[in-house]
């Protein structure tokens, strides 16, 4: 091995290490951005080094240089434009789109390698996985963007396809690997490969189409891991270690991440995928209403609270029922120590007796100057980052503002007017007045379903570990 080759390999090794470090830094909100920059820098180095290899080889045709340059410029431009313009809310579908093209690129490398060296296990895997990812990610992206209907789509013959396609892919792969289509570039082989690619693309579509929009983030993460694996296969095909390392890294971390995301949504990955081939969205959560509500984890709540400037706590009867006043005070104190401005909005009839919340909060040692009455709290609500509603229901029910409901005419705490709302209660269950609460299904509301005592102490622990 020449010194040049060795040097390039060493650069690749360094790049791979930087990727690892970059992902490592992404584990904490504090260092995440630095991690991303490091990773990006390493990526630039890797690409540059590869270009040097190309230049050093000196055999590259001008047209190839041109195609490479033009393609890179175009892709970079489009990618940049999309990434710059996209709205916060549309980011997941964009990520999915980028994932699609990444998978596509990996598959195309497989195709290229096939034209040079014929079929090999990595090439076949590359094309299959890359193909599935490409089409699957596009569908996922489309679903989130609303181009493809978000609800699970079950089209006629879907079941047949879900069995037939994998069989076909397996058969074509075996044929290819056993040299069924002649040597490299042999016509039969090309046809087989084209068939394989087509089947893979089709399978990607059939796999994602039946899955409901709510599960899309998990699916995208899974497809992301797929792409990683496809890239690693491309690396095997090209004999390039940095592709192998980076690809495997993404494959594995993507898999773990997929599991974490599914766990956070209380779904199993198997359910989502299998569910995709049959049932639809309803499986997510318990009742239909609970399904419509956005469910949060302790970590989400913790980060939202820790990075807020102003938090209003709205306690209700559930706080008393759970006897969670000490845990609540603890959380509030922790947030205050982090510089968050926390106060408590006490509704006159929260709880079940006059002054119920006062009795509780005093027991927990909440200083009186942290309590705000309803009018003050409502005045400050639009400037409030998070309204943390703990076991309150009727006293934050916006239905009170309209005539005709059991709570009509009662003044309420306008938690719904805060920038975001976190509600801690055990279920979508009713309060004293026995009516539904539309606050819980509002878009800026996240529900943390748990007993208040447990919920609050979990959130406190999460704040401590996440943002220390």
């Amino acid at each position: 091995m020449s010194a040049f080759d060795a040097a390039i390999r060493l650069v690749y090794l360094a790049v791979a290490s930087c990727f690892v470090l970059g992902l490592h830094l992404m584990n904490s909100p504090v260092t995440a951005r630095r991690g991303n920059l490091l990773s990006a820098g390493a990526m630039a180095v890797a690409v540059a080094a590869t270009v040097v290899v190309l230049a050093e080889a000196g055999v590259v045709r001008p047209w190839a240089w041109g195609a490479l340059a033009a393609g890179t410029a175009l892709g970079a431009g489009v990618g940049l434009a999309l990434a710059r313009r996209v709205l916060m809310t549309a980011m997941p579908q964009l990520v999915s789109l980028f994932n699609a093209v990444g998978g596509g690129a990996a598959a195309l490398i497989g195709v290229h390698d096939f034209t040079r060296h014929g079929a090999s296990l990595p090439v076949v895997l590359d094309v299959v996985i890359g193909g599935v990812t490409f089409s699957g990610s596009l569908v996922a992206s489309g679903k989130l963007q609303g181009l493809v209907p978000g609800r699970p789509i079950v089209f006629p013959g879907a079941r047949v396809l879900t069995v037939a396609l994998p069989l076909a892919m397996a058969a074509l792969s075996v044929l290819l690997l056993t040299g069924g289509g002649g040597g490299p570039g042999g016509g039969g082989g090309v046809a087989l490969l084209a068939g394989l690619a087509a089947a893979s693309l089709a399978f990607g579509v059939t796999m994602v189409t039946p899955i409901g929009g709510a599960d899309m983030p998990v699916v995208i993460s899974l497809l992301n891991a797929f792409t990683g694996t496809a890239v690693a296969m491309a690396g095997f095909a090209l004999g390039n270690t940095v592709l192998i390392t980076a690809g495997a890294l993404v494959g594995a971390s993507g898999a773990i991440l997929t599991k974490l995301m599914a766990d956070a949504m209380n779904r199993s990955l198997g359910n989502i995928i299998a569910g995709g081939f049959g049932t639809g969205d309803e499986a997510a959560g318990g009742s239909a209403a609970q399904g419509r509500a956005r469910s949060l984890s302790a970590d989400d709540a913790a980060i939202q609270l820790a990075y807020a400037a102003k938090v209003v706590v709205v306690p209700g009867y559930g706080l008393a029922a759970a006897q969670a006043q000490h845990q609540l005070h603890d959380l509030a104190e922790l947030l205050e120590r982090r510089g968050v401005d926390v106060f408590y909005a006490v509704h006159p009839v929260a709880g079940r007796m006059p002054g119920h919340m006062n009795v509780l909060l005093a027991e927990a040692g909440v200083p009186y100057d942290r309590l705000a009455d309803m009018e003050d709290a409502n005045a400050a609500m639009p400037q409030t980052d998070v309204a943390l509603v703990v076991g309150a229901n009727d006293v934050v029910n916006p239905a009170a503002r309209r005539p005709g409901s059991a709570v009509s005419g009662m003044p309420i705490i306008d938690a719904d007017r805060a920038r975001s709302v976190i509600v801690v209660k055990r279920s979508m269950g009713h309060g004293y007045a026995g009516i539904d609460n539309e606050l819980y299904t509002a878009p800026n509301t996240g529900m943390y379903f748990a007993d208040a005592k447990k919920a609050l102490s979990d959130i406190t622990a999460a704040v401590k570990t996440l943002v220390g």
Binding site: P348, M353, V407
Partner: protein
């Protein structure tokens, strides 16, 4: 511009006043002139000067009854002073006879103890709740004052003082308030009620729940009267429980009926000398006499406390004044009562008259 007159209470021991200086500006904003009978608030620590500063006019009784179209009181005023067409607001606890009298006097009378309890929109006018809340707090403080030992557990160099064991019978508004206050002082508190949801509410204050089985939920959030057989079983079991406690506070009522008898004389016999029993409902304890304090032979102090809010007049009056004010704000349109029988609150509260 209509006037509202604040009556000086006449019943003995009634130290509350219907309107306190802090709500006078609110009434004026609602379009009323506020007349205050001289000395009306004195017993509740609200001197006439405070009313004057708040924008009310101090008058004699005659001008008041003569000049004010709206009259605010706590307890029933003397019917003979009321003129036809007046709008009277009070805690009248109306019975048929009294309603008849008022009707005869052609008075439109609103009794705030009739506010529907379970109606969210009416909570601000719910004077029963506000007064019972005072009564419950007061009962716990009175118990601490009367009981000549410590409420909390204290481990000291001069021995360990055990915590007082407090039993609260009836966990409505007053009962819960008493439970909360006694717990604050460090007593070990047990609550008891026959409505099943009251059990969770007792627990939500951190107190223990006494469960004797059986249940007695009635209508409108109130309890029902138990059958004689149920009552006897309850009394027997409660007798045993009472003896295990140092303080018993009873608040059990059923709407329309006599307060149930919960603690019998034999039950008191087994209590320790120095124990205290406070009967808020005036009827839950066999030996209690309204507004009297007795000490039994075995050293148990029994207090018949039918009108505790009147013994904490400053707090009780302030809360009641808010209720009256909220009711007036509900009823007044441009400073004039707009009576409306189809309004759920008015239908319940207005006991005579209906055209102002």
């Amino acid at each position: 511009m209509l006037s509202i007159g604040i009556v000086k209470e006449t019943i003995a021991g009634e130290r509350r006043v219907a309107i306190t200086p802090d709500v006078v500006p609110r009434l004026r904003r609602a379009g009323l002139r506020v007349l205050v009978e001289a000395g009306a608030g004195a017993a509740a620590w609200f001197p006439d000067s405070a009313y004057g500063e708040a924008g009310a006019e101090i008058t004699g009784a005659d001008e008041l009854y003569g000049g004010a179209e709206i009259l605010a009181c706590v307890d029933r005023p003397r019917t003979d002073r009321l003129r036809a067409g007046r709008f009277l607001i009070g805690l009248l606890h109306p019975d048929a006879a009294y309603t008849g009298e008022l009707a005869a006097a052609q008075v439109t009378a609103a009794s705030l103890d009739r506010v529907p309890r379970t109606l969210s929109a009416a909570q601000a006018m719910d004077a029963l709740t506000s007064q019972e809340n005072v009564a419950g707090y007061r009962a716990a403080v009175l118990a601490a004052h009367t009981y000549e030992r410590f409420f909390p557990l204290l481990v000291t160099a001069a021995g360990t003082a055990p915590p007082a064991r407090v039993l609260v019978l009836g966990a409505g508004v007053a009962g819960l308030s008493a439970i909360g206050t006694a717990r604050r002082l460090g007593a070990v508190v047990t609550g008891y009620d026959i409505r099943p949801e009251a059990r969770a509410e007792i627990a939500s204050l951190g107190a223990a729940v006494l469960d004797l089985g059986g249940e007695g939920a009635g209508e409108g959030g109130y309890a029902r009267t138990l059958s004689e057989h149920e009552q006897q079983a309850q009394r027997d079991e409660l007798g045993r429980q009472v003896a295990r406690h140092d303080i018993v506070i009873t608040t059990a009522r059923v709407p329309g009926g006599r307060p149930p008898l919960l603690v019998t004389e034999t039950g008191l016999k087994d209590m320790r000398p120095g124990s205290v029993v406070i009967d808020l409902a005036c009827g839950n304890v066999e030996t209690s006499r309204p507004e009297e304090t007795l000490v039994t032979g075995n050293g148990v102090t029994v207090i018949g406390a039918g009108n505790l809010p009147a013994t904490m007049p400053a707090a009780a009056s302030t809360a009641y004044a808010h209720n009256v004010c909220a009711f007036l704000e509900h009823v007044l349109r441009d400073g004039v009562p707009a009576l409306d029988r189809t309004d759920e609150i008015q239908a319940a509260v207005i006991i005579t008259g209906g055209a102002a």
